[in-house]
């Protein structure tokens, strides 16, 4: 008896030593693995808002629904029938996914797949429906009469056969669809490791999504805790609980309503003129704030995929460069006036439309001008006149002003992929280059560079950095960082601007190149452009119109560009001009810009008083920014 007892205790002792000493590490690791759990708190990617706080991009947490087919037995069809409507899947396809797939591992042991992804990006509402459907699933048997084991099987099937990934994914939502798609950009999902767990994270691939990726992405949090046998968390045993930090919201200067106006007018222009692409920009010259930036054809960031043509993804306003054509004459004449190389009334002989220079023959498009004043050269867009203005200015000074207006450098807009254009150094110029550049050939620019250069003229000669982001804010709408308008440099003097505006006003008057761009209630200063696309003579053009209004106290600068419009009607004045007008009329009404022309049909609304401070009535319309350093409205 004593021997037996000794043997029994010795056996127990051995077992204890085996469990507590020999296998201690393995067993404690296994126990910890079953007990301990790390819960990942995904951080919500920040929203992108327009200037008025409207949500342009948002994020939604979604589930990835998975199945463990080994728990289904032979009930695939029943489960598929119940879940197919919620998962919006074909019943047969779902049943096939739920079938047990067996395979042999490296040791030749038979295994079954216990992890099958049924559907990704399932909304929380749909997941609740799925759970309810699984809970109320009937298999046509009286379960009360079944054995305990069979009852446990059905319980397991209902509770555990269909489950979700432990970490929720995020779905990026663009509520306005294609609106401002090129500015907003899009995202792609990538995996990263957090506390040893793979977490799917959204990464911006283009537009603001890419440029502000780190601000938009928050910081993922986690919780080290323990769970009970039913996989319920034991809050008592929480060790680390690091909350996630949501991403910041990016508030743009872009106004969704202005953007919509621009896009709808561009779409009409696209229909009328059948160009390869059409682009438009609306800028506040004083601050460089971009109210709208659009390019058609565009894409829907909600449905980005292999079906979207690559060309549609390009934000042509910043990525494409072109020879600007006559819009560039505004730059050349401004420079010449600023340097007093010419005066506005100076008469230049335009050679009756044919001018030989540097071994080349230059022509005026469709006209044979004789003597023209510099003002007329701008208004009628004489190539030969502009070439002569450029020659009078000289190569070095022309090159300096071209660079000072921002050409050859990125504008610094907060979007990825901006092209800098091409401005060759003076030493690389041919003799004819000075004449070519003066009429907008021999250099390439982006539409945005061109718009900002004309905006500089509208802003009393000061070039501004384009501003697309107004501020960053946290999830409680508290401002975290405010972006301020940035002046790049004073390019031309205010006196020169006055002369230039005087000349540019004539462009939209009868006898100018774009009377179609004139507005009823506002004086417009602008410039048309019709650049030939190389190879010259291929009847491919780049037509544009850039203008600002009210001309003497500009509030808005609008640029419209058409790439390869219908060759039957391709002049900037007749293609881009009417689009400018349509956009300007709508934007002016929306922004409540004070008219500077009293149209004959207008009735006086009130008796004007002597220089009183002005407010705009609370009509639900936005007020204009009031008072600049010159005392004018912007």
């Amino acid at each position: 008896m004593a021997l037996l007892l000794v043997a029994a205790f010795a056996g127990l002792g051995l077992r204890l030593v085996d469990l507590q000493v020999v296998r201690h590490d393995d067993l404690s690791r296994e126990a910890a693995g079953r007990r301990e759990s790390t819960i990942i708190h995904p951080s919500r990617r920040g929203d992108i808002l327009d200037a008025r706080g409207n949500v342009l991009v948002s994020s939604l947490f979604v589930k990835t629904v998975c199945a463990d087919p080994s728990l289904l037995g032979t009930n695939q069809t029943v489960v598929a029938r119940a879940l197919a409507p919620q998962l919006k899947m074909n019943e047969a396809e779902l049943a096939e996914k739920l079938r047990v797939h067996a395979w042999k591992d490296q040791r030749g042991k038979e295994r079954v797949d216990r992890y099958v992804i049924l559907k990704r990006k399932v909304s929380l509402e749909d997941w609740e429906k799925i759970r309810a459907a699984m809970k109320s699933l009937s298999f046509g048997v009286d379960e009360k009469k079944l054995s305990r084991r069979d009852r446990a099987f059905y319980l397991n099937l209902r509770q555990r056969a269909i489950y979700t990934e432990p970490v929720d994914d995020q779905l990026r939502i663009y509520p306005a669809g294609t609106l401002a798609a090129h500015v907003l950009g899009f995202t792609a999902a990538t995996d990263k490791l957090v506390e040893g767990h793979a977490v799917t994270e959204l990464v911006g691939k283009d537009g603001i999504e890419a440029a502000f990726n780190s601000a938009l992405n928050g910081v993922t949090g986690w919780r080290q805790t323990e769970k009970d046998v039913g996989s319920q968390e034991l809050v008592l045993f929480r060790e680390e609980d690091i909350a996630s930090r949501p991403g910041l919201n990016v508030a743009l200067t872009l106004d969704a309503s202005v953007q919509d106006m621009v896009e709808s007018e561009l779409a009409k222009g696209m229909e009328r003129n059948a160009p390869v692409s059409i682009s438009g920009i609306v800028v506040r010259p004083r601050t460089g704030a971009i109210l709208a930036m659009a390019t058609l054809p565009n894409y829907d960031p909600n449905q980005i995929g292999s079906k979207t043509p690559i060309a549609n993804l390009r934000n042509r306003v910043i990525t494409d460069t072109f020879e600007p054509g006559s819009t560039f004459k505004a730059v050349v004449v401004s420079a010449a006036l600023n340097e007093q190389a010419v005066s506005l009334n100076e008469i230049l002989y335009c050679e009756n439309g044919v001018f030989s220079f540097g071994g080349y023959t230059l022509h005026d498009a469709g006209h044979h001008f004789g003597n023209l004043s510099v003002e007329d050269i701008v208004a009628k867009s004489s190539n030969i006149g502009a070439a002569k203005v450029g020659i009078k200015l000289g190569e070095v000074r022309l090159h300096k002003y071209v660079r000072d207006f921002g050409f050859g450098d990125p504008t610094g807009i907060t979007l990825p992929g901006e092209a800098r254009g091409t401005v060759h150094p003076v030493r690389s110029w041919y003799k004819v280059s000075i004449a070519q550049i003066s009429m907008g050939q021999g250099l390439t620019v982006t539409p945005l560079q061109m718009a900002m250069a004309v905006s500089a003229i509208a802003n009393y000669g000061r070039l501004m950095r384009p501003m697309l982001v107004d501020h960053l804010e946290d999830e409680h709408k508290q401002e975290v960082f405010k972006y301020q308008p940035q002046a790049v440099r004073q390019v031309i003097s205010e006196e020169t601007v006055k002369l230039m505006v005087q000349a540019m006003k004539r462009v939209v008057l009868p006898g100018g190149t774009a009377p179609q761009a004139a507005l009823e209630h506002y004086t417009v200063a602008g410039k048309t452009g019709t650049g030939q696309k190389p190879p010259y003579g291929s009847r491919k053009y780049f037509s544009s119109f850039i203008g600002f209004f009210p001309a003497d106290s500009p509030e808005i600068c609008i640029a419209v560009f058409l790439d390869e419009p219908d060759p039957k009607r391709y002049y900037g004045g007749e293609t881009a001009g009417p689009i400018f007008k349509a956009i300007a009329e709508r934007v002016a009404a929306y922004l409540a810009i004070r008219p500077d022309i009293q149209a004959p049909s207008d009735q006086p609304l009130q008796k004007p008083s002597s220089n009183p401070p002005e407010v705009i009535a609370q009509t639900g319309l936005p007020s204009t920014l009031t008072t600049s350093r010159t005392g004018r409205n912007f």
Binding site: V55, E233, V235, L236, A592, A617
Partner: protein
């Protein structure tokens, strides 16, 4: 001594018994209290977890509603709705916008505006109470 022992053994020794009982009760009570406390902690933990789950759910629902609101506020959606309702709304023309012009402040108004709010209230009351000339 013997008499004393005898007399002592005959006496009922309540003190030590009570002490023992109290110690037992204390130990037992502590044990029960500990278990009760642990149960309470677990229960409160469970409730906390449930509330956290509910909070998360509400947050998700909030963001879903936010998304829905954003969709409804998008220019395209507003345009479609306007067409559906056929309200005949259109953008105001520049000449239809009424601009109000502030009249220059009178010296009296300037003085009142520069006052402390309480003082201003008193001054306004006095102005209202005084008979019209």
């Amino acid at each position: 001594m013997a008499r004393n022992r005898k007399s002592q053994s005959a006496a009922v020794r309540f003190g030590p018994a009570l002490k023992a009982l109290l110690i037992c009760l204390f130990i037992g009570g502590s044990g029960v209290g500990y278990v009760w406390q642990q149960n309470q902690l677990l229960e409160l933990g469970r409730q906390k977890a449930e509330k956290e789950k509910r909070l998360n759910l509400l947050r998700v629902q909030n963001s879903q509603l936010g998304r829905h609101l954003a969709e409804l506020q998008s220019p395209k959606s507003l345009e479609t709705r306007l067409k559906e309702l056929n309200l005949g709304l259109s953008m105001a023309q520049p000449t239809q916008i009424v601009r109000l012009v502030d009249a220059p402040l009178t010296p009296a108004a300037k003085r009142i505006l520069s006052m402390h709010p309480a003082e201003r209230q008193y001054a306004e009351r006095r102005t209202a109470a005084s008979p019209a000339p």
